[in-house]
């Protein structure tokens, strides 16, 4: 006496019911609301910072040349913006940083793949690579100047030495974190060699690789500033680092502040406009971004 079994369309409707019960659409807040709620805390923080600065300035802790008021710095900033020299410096630095980053990308990616996938290579240069990552790249500047002379090449050398290890290490740790299950799934589906790398390994590595890129950019930018501060000569284009150095030579604190702000703004802008959205998108697609 077998108990009656569901007819087929009953099974279909049962499944449809289960599916509906077990999935839920996430309601997403409108964009302006998200932007607003993300923007006000930093805005308040910057406001408070300016306030404290102004108060310290008014208290006269330091002479004006050493600690200008926010308004003084603002004026210099506007002047620099108006005559174009700040923008030019930003342009020069961003160009160098961007190009250096791209070269670092082109070297660091295959290097990371090699270290991640080939055991002998990993034993050989894996430790060196992680060691290099903790070496402040400003330490390379004197060597680069002696080796390449005062010029762009020396600057790029320092940038690469700073950024390549980060990018390569991002790739390596990404490869280490790929769940073995995915590789086995790939093999069961018939992926071998190149097709396995293309359809399974590389997509699986992507989040960690992006993390490496983000760090690589930060290292490029920092190394570039270190290099530009020291490597300056009349033939070289004027970058933000050189602008800083100029401010120091002229004892012009407002100019120095303007330079620092420029460096900060570029760093934040690249982070906010490039890496953060990219990473967010990748993570959201994989359901790794909770909330938001």
């Amino acid at each position: 006496m077998t108990a009656p079994v569901l007819p087929q369309d009953d099974l279909a409707s049962l499944e449809a019911g289960l599916d509906a019960l077990e999935t839920h659409e996430l309601a997403r807040t409108p964009r302006w609301q998200r932007v607003l709620s993300a923007a006000w805390p930093p805005a308040v923080a910057v406001g408070l910072l300016l306030l404290v600065w102004e108060l310290v300035y008014r208290a006269g802790v330091k002479p004006t040349y050493a600690l200008p008021s926010p308004a003084d710095v603002g004026t210099v900033l506007l002047d620099q913006l108006r005559d174009g020299s700040l923008l030019e410096a930003i342009g020069t630095s961003v160009q160098r940083g961007g190009l250096g980053f791209l070269i670092a990308l082109a070297i660091g990616t295959p290097l990371g793949l090699l270290v991640g996938r080939v055991r002998v290579v990993r034993r050989g240069i894996g430790p060196i690579l992680s060691g290099l990552q903790s070496l402040p790249s400003v330490a390379w500047v004197p060597a680069a100047i002696i080796f390449f002379g005062l010029g762009e090449t020396a600057i790029y050398a320092v940038v690469l030495l700073g950024a390549v290890p980060s990018i390569a290490n991002g790739m390596v740790s990404g490869i280490d974190q790929v769940p073995p299950l995915f590789l086995r799934v790939g093999r069961v589906l018939g992926a071998r060699g190149i097709s396995s790398a293309r359809h399974v390994l590389l997509p699986a590595v992507l989040p960690a690789y992006l993390g490496g890129l983000r760090q690589g950019w930060a290292f490029s930018w920092r190394s570039l500033m270190a290099a530009e501060l020291i490597v300056s000569s009349p033939e070289l284009g004027l970058g933000l680092g050189q602008l800083l150095d100029q401010g120091r030579l002229l004892n012009d604190m407002s100019l120095v502040f303007a330079g620092i702000l420029g460096i900060l703004v570029v760093g934040i802008a690249v982070e906010l406009c490039l890496f953060a959205p990219l990473e967010k998108r990748v993570l959201r697609r994989r359901g790794l971004l909770v909330g938001k």
Partner: protein
């Protein structure tokens, strides 16, 4: 409990879909995991492999799937390859449901247009046509396993290996997927080798249940399930055979405790 020869006789005339003969497996210097296992799965047959945890069920499936090679003995798959489904959904999270199915087709060298159409059909087959654009994390556990089933079907191997595919699901969903699997197996004429340590599940699904012993893994006993599909997991016939098998399984496990 009926004996083996109740399996319909016409099956024995065709070549089996899976044949393991004298298969043993050791990992490096570890103990022998599988010892002299011989097992045939006929075309269109549904065989459930049952055994205590760690007895080598997954190892056996990996051998059949070609993910690993036996230490001695041979694994024959006259059809060439087998599709394998895992306990966790094992869908690739950077792809949508449909793209996961399409990947299987793509790796078989099927063109883009046909891929799309075939993936749609396969999702329809597991009744998930509308979920094709969903990301893996947007699907429930049961839906994921149905997509994984569609992906396995996309491999068109005819032989489906399943490694505790429903173990992580709740009882209600599992029950529904049992029915789904039985339906697909009949309509697609699949040969299934299904690993579980749920005795009732094995009896609910299989034409034949194979009990593996532990350390080393050997075929301890086989049971033919005579009551016809569709069955229900709650039915007394299923329960009755499940009791017998559970007793044998317990005896098998006890054997290890008594010695050491």
């Amino acid at each position: 409990m009926t004996l083996l020869d109740t399996v319909s006789p016409d099956l024995s005339t065709v070549a089996p879909a899976v044949r393991l003969s004298g298969v043993s497996k050791r990992f490096d210097d570890g103990p022998t995991v599988l010892d002299d296992v011989s097992l045939e799965v006929q075309q269109g047959e549904f065989v459930c492999l049952l055994g205590a945890s760690g007895c080598g069920k997954s190892t056996l499936l990996n051998l059949v799937a070609g993910l690993d090679a036996p230490t001695t003995g041979t694994v024959d798959l006259p059809g060439g390859r087998a599709a394998l489904m895992f306990q966790e959904s094992a869908l690739l999270p950077w792809l949508t449901a449909a793209q996961n199915v399409e990947l299987a087709l793509r790796l078989r060298g099927i063109g883009k247009k046909e891929r799309r159409a075939r993936a749609g059909e396969l999702l329809e087959l597991v009744r998930l046509r509308d979920a094709g654009d969903k990301r893996v994390h947007e699907l429930s556990g049961g839906m994921r396993q149905r997509v994984a089933m569609a992906r396995a079907l996309a491999q068109e191997t005819g032989v489906l290996l399943m490694d505790e595919p429903f173990a992580a699901l709740d009882a209600i969903t599992r029950d529904v997927l049992h029915e789904e699997l039985v339906r697909l197996r009949a309509s697609q004429r699949l040969t299934v080798l299904f690993v579980t340590h749920n005795v009732r599940e094995a009896v609910r699904l299989g034409d034949r249940v194979v009990l593996l012993s532990s350390r080393p893994g050997r075929v301890a006993k086989e049971y033919a399930v005579s009551c016809p599909q569709p069955r229900r997991i709650e039915s007394p016939e299923v329960a009755e055979l499940a009791v017998t098998i559970t007793d044998d399984l317990r005896a098998e496990i006890r054997r290890h405790g008594g010695q050491s």
